[in-house]
């Protein structure tokens, strides 16, 4: 007990110190606290009454976690979460330190934690989750995880750990198969696309994972949430065993955001039971601001500049199909640091044909020339190549003063460009968001 209190004090002190130096969203305070008490996280979550929920998958973790948290809070629940997107246990601790009492035991109804596949298992060595929400598996950061097969096994292990409930993507064969690993007393629910929209599945899933045998999805069962879009921003989530949720109007566009909302709604319904209220859910989702880099819109002299984070083929393909219907001036910035994915091969698994008509105004980043080369093989004209991000941004903005603009970028390019934009256009500080898509 004393050790836990000492850890909280040390962590809070470290947090105050890093904030003085202007370092928001750092995992350092958590590291300090965890050093003093390695069991701190388990202690901190010991009194969380209604559930510890882990959200994982390749794409959409940040968005879905925020949606689920918003849904639970709108229903009056106290929710702990890791908005910094820091995937290590120390990152989770860092994000909790502000509100953690000296006893080290958080007072909350739910903890909803976004964790990547590998870190989710490390987390479960310390804390047993009651629920797991498994979104999807796509090729991402393969230099870290090596193989989709391997990632699928990580998710299966996670599904096996949950003690109360698991929510699975019924359309993703790799995710859906983890139902076989769930403990017998644990409830399994699914989310997915309604059959009227099934033809759009390739936009949000890796399709080439389906080899010669056809995928037979599991029986949906009651509690399954199915997405039925009305257009690119408005949709309904259909439930067989209760009231549908909708129409919902999101502030983000695209099928990916809508399927994330479907996953969050299905999970919130499972967690809240009879307390779940469809109209509360509708307004909570409608009020939510898109997270950093997921369609964030910056106003530049009266014209919108959309910032879109891209990090893997599925994500880039989704982003292009989301925005492809309205071609605008486009810049693409590709770096190859660890957080971007060091191997840029994946750019060849994305089709850029939707950019052909309008062309690309600028490619930038360390791999600016590689990006331009990639576009040339899809017959997409590139007006200018400028590796320096700041120079490229200024030239891009100057070349298109009177029209909407869009900027696709990998993680570290996004961070750098967002910093430049913040300095030039007096934008709010950022750093409270994670690197997940």
């Amino acid at each position: 007990m004393l050790r836990t209190t000492a850890a909280v004090i040390a962590g809070k002190a470290a947090r105050a110190a890093t904030r003085l130096r202007g370092g928001g969203g750092s995992a350092f305070p958590g590291l300090v606290a965890e050093r003093v008490d390695p069991r701190l996280l388990a202690h901190a979550l010991a009194d969380v009454r209604d559930g510890i929920v882990v959200v994982t998958g390749t794409n959409g973790k940040t968005t879905t976690t925020r949606m689920l948290v918003a849904l639970l809070r709108a229903h009056g629940k106290a929710v702990l979460t890791n908005p910094t997107g820091s995937n290590f246990t120390r990152g989770v601790i860092s994000s909790m330190l502000k509100d953690l009492p000296l006893s080290g035991r958080a007072r909350a109804d739910f903890a909803v934690l976004e964790l990547d596949e590998a870190h989710a298992l490390r987390f479960t060595e310390v804390v047993t989750p009651t629920h797991a929400l498994l979104l999807n598996i796509a090729r991402d950061q393969l230099d870290r995880f090596a193989e989709i097969d391997h990632t699928a096994r990580l998710l299966e292990k996670l599904a096996a750990q949950a003690t109360a409930g698991v929510v699975l993507n019924i359309d993703d064969p790799y995710v859906a198969r983890s139902r076989e690993c769930v403990q017998p007393q644990v409830e399994v629910r699914y989310f997915g696309l309604h059959e009227s929209t099934a033809h759009r599945l390739p936009e949000i899933l890796e399709t080439d994972v389906r080899f010669d045998e056809d995928y037979h999805p599991p029986q949906p069962g009651p509690g399954t949430g199915l997405l039925q879009p009305r257009d690119e921003r408005e949709f309904d989530v259909l439930f067989q065993d209760g009231e549908d949720v909708g129409p919902v109007m999101l502030r983000q566009r695209g099928l990916a955001a809508m399927i994330n909302a479907t996953a969050a709604t299905t999970t919130a319904r499972m967690l809240l039971g009879d307390a779940f209220d469809p109209s509360t859910a509708r307004s909570a989702l409608a009020a939510l601001q898109p997270p950093f880099g997921r369609g964030e819109v910056v106003d530049i002299h009266g014209q919108p500049l959309e910032l879109v984070l891209v990090k893997n083929p599925a994500g880039f393909t989704v982003a292009l199909s989301t925005y492809g219907s309205s071609p605008v001036a486009t810049m693409i910035a590709i770096n190859d640091e660890h957080a971007d994915g060091r191997d840029i091969s994946w750019l060849y698994d994305v089709s850029f044909e939707s950019l052909r008509e309008r062309g690309v105004s600028m490619t930038s980043g360390v791999r600016a020339y590689d990006m331009a080369l990639r576009l040339s093989y899809d017959d997409v004209a590139v007006a200018r190549i400028e590796p320096s991000l700041t120079t490229a941004l200024d030239a891009f903005l100057a070349a298109h003063p009177d029209e909407p603009k869009r900027l696709f970028c990998t993680y570290t390019a996004m961070m750098a460009l967002r910093r430049t934009l913040a300095a030039r256009y007096d934008l709010p500080e950022f750093g409270e968001e994670g690197e997940d898509g």
Binding site: R139, A146, D208, F211, Y348, D370, L373, Y377, P387
Partner: protein, 255 residues
């Protein structure tokens, strides 16, 4: 309909080159599809017609192909193609012996060797077209690569845990300037026998190294038409700049 006909056979085509991608579904990860896209485009840019055949396990083997390429895969993908490779082993061996150009990346490079020896010591036989043996291991060789090859400096990205050893007399594809290569020890990368090249380089290898793409296309064009390759001049300034920047960055010099 008329348009489609004109597209298929341009009036000025110097001939049709049949490009066979072996197992694109099962064995193409890390952008290996980019090699097919690159070859197809460049064949057209050189004034030939490209006919792309995507060979799947169980389909009749396209033995009339002029150029064969294959990529890397996951264990599950590899398992799906082994029986089909075995069934067509003799055809592939005689095509290789007859000088058909082939480029096999990563997993398919390993399958074109003599054997893959698992961590448990079990030897899984390969096609034996390249005189190499791969030992499965725990050490993963990942990172950017620069090679010296017959077509000059080649850049790419490797990601493999198998360590490949060349038999005595087997030529490598290139010498490692930066990266691990076949095994991280002897400075060799890939293997080349006649017109068959095996390599670990993703990236994908061909768009960033167009000289290698044109070498393969030239060999295929000669086989397809019975005449020497008649290349067009292709503007490769962007590819050259992309490659040279990688070389400078990785070697940390003005080289």
């Amino acid at each position: 309909m008329a348009d489609a006909l004109f597209d298929a056979v341009p009036a000025t085509s110097k001939g049709t080159i049949r490009l066979v991608h072996l197992y694109p579904k099962e064995m193409s990860i890390y952008g290996d599809l980019g090699n097919t896209r690159c070859l197809q485009k460049r064949i057209e840019w050189h004034g030939y017609t490209a006919e792309v055949i995507r060979h799947a396990p169980g389909n009749p083997f396209p033995e009339a192909g002029h150029l064969f390429i294959g990529g890397g895969g996951q264990d599950s993908g590899q398992a799906r193609v082994v029986a089909d490779l075995e069934r067509n082993a003799d055809t592939l061996r005689s095509l290789a012996a007859a000088g058909t150009p082939m480029l096999m990346i990563c997993g398919m490079y390993q399958l074109f060797g003599n054997a893959f020896v698992t961590v448990e010591g079990k030897a899984l036989p390969g096609l034996g077209i390249l005189d190499v043996t791969t030992q499965g291991g725990a050490k993963r060789m990942i990172g950017p690569v620069v090679l010296d090859t017959v077509v000059g400096k080649v850049v790419g990205y490797e990601n493999h845990s198998g360590a490949t050893t060349l038999a005595a007399g087997q030529e490598p594809f290139g010498r490692v300037v930066r990266g691990y290569g076949n095994n991280g020890e002897d400075g060799t990368e890939g293997a080349r026998t006649g017109n068959v090249i095996g390599s670990y380089l993703h990236g994908p290898i061909l768009p960033a190294n167009p000289a290698l793409a044109d070498l393969l296309i030239g060999l295929a064009a000669a086989r397809a038409t019975g005449r020497p390759f008649e290349p067009e001049t292709i503007a490769d300034a962007v590819a050259d700049e992309a490659r040279n920047r990688q070389v400078r960055r990785l070697l940390g010099s003005a080289g």
